[in-house]
Symmetry: C2
Subunit: 140 residues, 2 copies
């Protein structure tokens, strides 16, 4: 399942359609010079950027504001050995415009974690790639 | 769901127990100086290292052999807004010892992708961290 050429590629529009189906993805970044990954709720904005909702004093915000990150979501089914994964790569920026912040409080992602204060982080969908695994028969 | 302090931490033994429940995780690394993430089948070895099975000529092997990577697995339930995630951070190395390779062909991970040739990659479980989200009531 790791050979890129054994997946079939998913085009950008289908990638975005699949992303919209799932409530949790994973932001991939660097923390203290080590690779880091954190599951997080998200939604897609009207321009197809990925929106995260978190706490303004979180380690995540400090680590990713202004930095190129990857954001991954997937769904796999062990019974059929099939599934898909999508990766969005782009610059993450904290939303600082008050009107934009207010708009996202209404229309942006919710979080499964209660937050005293909220900040939104936008990941530009500069590069969107996806792979589909159609399933292989039985155990090897 | 992104505030580290709002999760409860999972100890190393429980992290390894949870990892053993799922067939797919995500290897997190750097490719062409950008953050990269790839879903992949895995298993745990007897020493609790993470074992991947892939093709010897894959981009992944070239990118991670000898490098510190992160490996993440999780399970979330949208209905209860609960779940867990575990991250193993450590050096990835291709298994080159023929006896070890033969042992892993018998006891190591299988892959959902057919592979003409197989190489095993071991990620040392130098740092194992996990977080559990117990669920929050209804939509915010």
């Amino acid at each position: 399942m790791s050979q890129n050429d054994a997946f079939s590629a998913i085009d950008r529009q289908d990638c975005l359609r699949l992303l919209a189906k799932v409530p949790v993805g994973r932001v991939v970044y660097t923390r203290h010079a080590l690779p880091a990954v954190l599951p997080i709720n998200f939604s897609l904005d009207t321009d197809s950027s990925v929106l995260l909702r978190t706490s303004p004093d979180s380690d995540l915000v400090r680590a990713i504001d202004g930095v190129v990150v990857a954001f991954e979501a997937d769904e796999f089914d062990a019974a059929t050995r099939s599934g898909w994964s999508v990766v969005v790569t782009g610059r993450a920026t904290v939303v600082t415009d008050p009107a934009e912040h207010d708009r996202l409080r209404e229309t942006g992602p919710t979080s499964w974690m209660p937050q005293r204060e909220t900040v939104f982080v936008r990941i530009a969908s500069e590069m969107v790639t996806g792979r589909e695994l159609r399933g292989t028969p039985g155990p090897l």
